[in-house]
Symmetry: C2
Subunit: 457 residues, 2 copies
């Protein structure tokens, strides 16, 4: 009964909700660039003010970096913690933007109206879906259906250095029954999606040194070992002809899909050629015997993210370089052990090394995959609420990326997190001309209103 | 008789010869940097003045770039053309120099006195060995034993763009019986060396494009083909386990060494481990069944001179890049056909390309190897003259590098060239702290005095 009134209120208040979001989008809260530190602070202040105005008792909390925003309400039943981030990516290359990144606009497109501007999707637009749902509940009923806490950070786009220390220092305050993280997307424009699998990430930088200085390839070419040749050979050996990673034991801990999930994914009828077509590709390059969705969500991968060595400028220099460098990363699933894989990788690289060469490794992060406990009662409640709003069954999906925050809530405060978001594949997050569908924003607000009601049942 | 007097004069005049070289070394004639254009002109003027002062009728000749210096004498018998270059390499990185590059100094080292400064070895010190030999002959006898012409350029370190056009325009004037090029070194500190084999060079830049933009390796890793993976695989396949190049037909036209040359090279007792030890290596990386000298001088090679793609800055970015780039080159010998090898390489790369990727090629030079006709009578005469001076048999050697000028004299004016120089492996040409052994300079002058006499016989 109240829910219907709340939804009606949300529809009626849509223009005001949009005005508020536009205000927040105008704040240039780029977290990586110290020149924007004050803007980050301004964004935190804006949120503190807005949350307090709707009766969520909120304060700005200092960290060594940008501040946290933490708010609480009293309420019956379960305790829900909502996480989002108010910082945004830098705007470079600025000349590729068709309008100013911090002068947000509503634009008509072939797929409907969109909110154009930096942070519209990642993550200001998304976090405001939850704030607006709370505002509507408060406005209509004077209270929220469950106890709600808010937790916004301002360093997500710069590696969240203050996050875990803050969570540790304030664990009791943040402890809750479930955490909602609104920083993901929908598997298809109309299919509400709850991410239940996040791939882990292992990053490694490798430096191979051959001669102790750059050489002239005429004087030394032949007898002097070229470290780029060694690097190419070692990296080329990481995949077989079928797209499988060849490291010994690499697939240990890679589970087959549960039948229920497999059935859901099949029902999605994912168009891998369409997905790849968006980026100029057509043929899936992962393991040949796996579907496109499995290749992104539930199968591990290995990618060279960067490689360099020798002369890379204009023209030609016949240098035989001293060093070759590569940055490579693995996306991990199931219970694959990142540290064990790091050791296997290093052993492989060393085995490829001729007597003369030396090799150096620098680890860049090693996080295991996360798999959510979908038998937590909130999962089905949220999925059904989403299904009602979107008039299409919500699905449990994977996410190829790594969102360490989900694991942190589990590890630091012992709370299960749920990733629900309304972004679309074409939102261009981290890129010029970022947008958020008006439909995502509006139905996102309505979705949270329904989820809050469902959790109260 | 005269020769003995000339050699005695050279010994007596050594300090003055050195002063003259120091004067020339002080001129900052860096040809690649337009800021030094005037200095290049000054160096040309200096040489014109010096050559005229010893009775070689010389003028500065304009080109679209830096000027040529051309001089002539009358004389009996054969017509000898001498080539050198007065321009020098840039001095970066300047902070690695232990003294100022254009403030030359005589230094005492463990291996004797050296002239320290940019251009001391490459090529001002070398070209002055010939000028001083002419000066001594003129001074003692009033004439030269043979007809001598001089041809100096000022663009050798920047690709010699004006050279071939100038040679074509002045072919009749430059036509001669033999060309001496003094821009090479000695195979061992005391073994005079005539380079009779120059490797050719084929350069190729390759760009492989996968996705049409850089992707997030979390969202796309798996199904999206990574062009670095393709590049690594294709380049790794260019060598087999024995260091041989695998391209089909690559060894067509690679000759076995003539027995006489093989015997000379064996007698050199080349210490490949010592050679590699100078650059921090130990084990020859070329074809396993070939000697170190063959690997540098008479066998073809393939080297990746540069490779890059993806994120190459500090830290880590999990990008799945749109493009991978490589610059690769082949050193060619015998009658290997550079254009045919370019086609074979391109066919190999295309064969390694998955359906989705595109490939682009940019050719960077394609020159065949040069093999000198050692049966030209000047070769044995010069070799014996060198043997007299250095009290050790002169040898015909190879040179791993490519010195296109030798081929140009053959192709444009139809004259056989001979490469004789007195540089040492540790001269650090193109590097900080370039030097030229005083012994190379002094005995170089004496060597040319002897060679001129020998040619008159």
């Amino acid at each position: 009964m109240s829910l219907d009134q709340v939804l009606t209120h949300i529809d009626a208040d849509q223009a005001n909700a949009l005005d508020r979001l536009m205000d927040l989008l105008r704040i240039e809260s780029i977290s990586t660039d110290p020149a924007y530190a004050e803007a980050c602070d301004t964004a935190a202040d804006w949120l503190v003010r807005d949350l307090n105005s709707i009766g969520i008792s909120t304060s700005k909390r200092p960290t060594p970096g940008h501040p946290m925003v933490v708010g609480h309400t009293d309420g019956p039943g379960q305790h829900v913690l909502f996480y989002g981030h108010y910082d945004v990516q830098p705007v470079d290359p600025i000349d590729l933007w068709e309008s100013l990144p911090f002068d947000p606009k509503i634009e008509e497109t072939a797929n409907g109206k969109v909110i154009r501007g930096r942070g519209s999707s990642d993550d200001k637009g998304q976090l405001m879906t939850f704030v607006e749902a709370c505002r509507a509940w408060k406005s209509v009923t004077g209270s929220l259906p469950v106890k709600v806490s808010i937790f916004f950070e301002g360093e997500e786009e710069s590696g969240s250095p203050s996050l875990v220390p803050f969570m540790k220092d304030n664990a009791a305050e943040l402890k809750s029954d479930v955490v909602f993280i609104c920083d993901t997307g929908m598997v298809e424009p109309n299919t509400p999606s709850i991410v239940t699998m996040l791939r882990g990430l292992l990053g490694e930088e490798i430096i191979i040194t051959g001669p102790d200085k750059d050489l002239h390839s005429g004087m030394f070419g032949g007898p002097a070992m070229n470290p780029i040749r060694v690097m190419n050979r070692a990296l080329a050996a990481l995949h077989d002809d079928q797209g499988r990673v060849t490291l010994e034991g690499f697939y240990d801990g890679v589970p087959e899909l549960p039948e229920q999930v497999e059935a859901q994914w099949k029902a999605l009828d994912f168009d891998v050629e369409g997905f790849l077509g968006e980026v100029g590709l057509k043929h899936p390059a992962g393991e040949a015997d796996r579907s496109g969705l499995e290749q992104i969500w539930s199968r591990p991968t290995c990618d060279v993210n960067g490689i360099w060595g020798g002369y890379t400028g204009d023209g030609f220099k016949t240098v035989l370089p001293s060093q070759a460098h590569a940055k490579i990363s693995f996306r991990l699933v199931g219970t694959q052990d990142p540290l064990k894989i790091r050791e296997t990788l290093r052993a492989h690289m060393r085995a490829c090394l001729p007597q003369d060469c030396e090799i150096e490794f620098h680890g860049h992060g090693a996080s295991a995959a996360s798999t959510m406990q979908v038998d937590h009662p909130a999962f089905e409640k949220a999925r059904l609420a989403l299904s009602d709003e979107w008039e299409k069954p919500g699905v449990y999906v994977g996410c190829g990326g790594s969102i360490p925050i989900a694991g942190h809530f589990q590890d630091v405060i012992g709370t299960q997190s749920m990733l629900i978001g309304f972004g679309q594949d074409d939102d261009a997050i981290h890129s010029p001309n970022e947008k958020y569908d008006l439909r995502s924003f509006h139905k996102g607000v309505r979705s949270w209103a329904r989820i809050l009601a469902a959790l109260a049942d």
